[in-house]
Amino acid sequence: MNSLILTSIEQGLVFAILSMGVFLTYKILDISDLSVEGTFPFGAFIFAKFISLGVNPIISSLLAFCFGTLAGLITSTLFIKLKIKPLLAGILTMTMLYSINLRINNKANIPLFNFKSIFDYGPAILVLLIIVLLIKILLDGFLKTEMGYLLIATGDNEALIKSLGQNSNKYKTIGLMLANGLVALSGALMAQIQGFADITMGSSIIVMALASIIIGDTFMKNSDTLKNTTRAIVGAIIYKIIGGVAIDLGLAPTDLRAISAIIVILFIAYNNLAVDVMGLKKRRVKEHAKNKEPIKEF
């Protein structure tokens, strides 16, 4: 059971990077970017290519991030310049990336056991923890900058960005590039932790990322102080532990996708329906109001 929890936390930390990426598009920019289903294995294949060429695993992982940002650039170009709807733009990028991924190494599955990995530098959980915390600190720091706030405001109200004399498309592009870079990095780390890169590893990854984000939001709904990145990280770890426990209880790993979808449905339904039915939402609003000083009305 301990090893199950440890493995779940390790995989949860890898997924935390994915979740932070998807959080940028889904929560901040309000864009459903499906290209991440292609970007996740893209990162793994880019890593596999460079590591097989003898490049250092840290640099190979960083290159996976950089190439991932290019995938984000493709989606944003389709969406912004060619006026293709974001959902379709993401699907088109994902479809292109499927062929590109197969072209990178001319194989659908690449074993990486014989190559160096980022986890040669220390225990996997410690290395992952450092990477996740570093990304969290950088992302939180970025979101506090002038550009970061414009990214948030772009998803919130595009008219405001234009009225501030700024180009909102620039910030959509930055968000999509950053998100896809993080997803590709997450793919590269997943390839290293599981010891192979596979063409199918991105399948349904968006559902898993959304599950992590929604779980994080649901569990820490009443906290005003917790940052969204923290929620994404904790949500990803809880999600992976739930999946681990489900397998431990006898479910087949192939059932995990259905479980992921059911988790998303249950948590969204809980947020949308159950709280209203049980009157919990009203109670929460009252409690929230009690703790806050009333705002002067006209």
Partner: protein, 254 residues
């Protein structure tokens, strides 16, 4: 001063539903004056404002702001010198950010946004002073997210944010239409104070004849993209204005 020369705009061009809304339209708005534009729905008020700020492209014609031709500039480039308050109180703010964060964003209007911290402690007192002029106590709620404010409070914040950098032109697009009469009255008074304080050239669109006359220096009535009335506000009565307005509405219905 705003000068509009030979502005033309048609919709659904080359179809049986083609509408030539503006045809060689000319208008000059005096500096530091508040001009109210009124007229029935579809007369072109919002289209005119959208063409001035660049969110709708004109087919032909020039727009000069303080003798600079802004016709070819993109919307975000024109925004550097134009402030706009929308009908929807959420349109001028970022609801998921706090009052302080919104004020700090507005303070950077027209400047380059970089990888520097947005909130600067030195500016907080300045924001508090500005918010204090609204007399709503918002200066004590700087860390409150804007989505928790009422419509009137959001619109007041939008107004302060739009006027903060003293734009050459302030566009008020039915900015009190979504508010209740009491709140609308408060916002109109704050608007007047701000226009006077910062000496801003202002165009105000309104369906409220009383407000149009009370708060503007000049009133213009539009109908089908043409000026049907253009007088100093003090020289026209609400009754006279309403008479023309209803006549135009009846023409529209007939």
């Amino acid at each position: 001063m705003l000068k509009i020369k030979n502005l033309s705009k048609s919709f659904n061009a080359e179809t049986e539903n083609e509408i030539n809304l503006f045809n060689n339209f000319n208008l000059t708005i005096e500096k530091n004056k508040c001009t109210a534009i009124i007229g029935p729905n579809g007369c072109g008020k919002s289209t005119l404002l959208n063409m001035i700020c660049g969110s709708i492209a004109a087919d032909r014609g020039q727009i000069y702001l303080n003798n600079n031709d802004i016709s070819k500039l993109k919307e975000e480039q024109r925004s550097n010198n134009i402030g706009r308050v929308f009908q929807d109180p959420s349109m001028g703010v970022s609801p998921s950010l706090t009052i302080l964060e919104n004020m700090a964003l507005a303070d950077k209007k027209g400047e380059k946004f970089a990888l520097k911290r947005l909130i600067k402690r030195n500016n907080i007192d300045k924001y508090k002073d500005l918010l204090m002029t609204l007399d709503l106590g918002l200066e004590d709620k700087l860390d409150t997210k804007v989505k928790f404010l009422s419509g009137g409070q959001r619109q007041s914040l939008s107004l302060i944010m739009a006027a903060m950098k003293h734009p050459d032109l302030l566009l008020l697009d039915e900015h009190t239409a979504a508010l209740d009469p009491k709140t609308s009255n408060v916002i109109m008074k704050k608007t007047k104070e701000l226009i006077k304080k910062y000496s801003m050239t202002t165009i105000m669109i309104s369906h409220n004849m009383k407000d149009a006359l009370e708060y503007s220096d000049r009133v213009i009535m539009l109908d089908k993209g043409e000026i049907v009335l253009d007088k100093p506000s003090r020289e026209v009565s609400e009754k006279e204005l309403m008479g023309i307005y209803i006549a135009k509405l009846n023409e529209f219905v007939a």
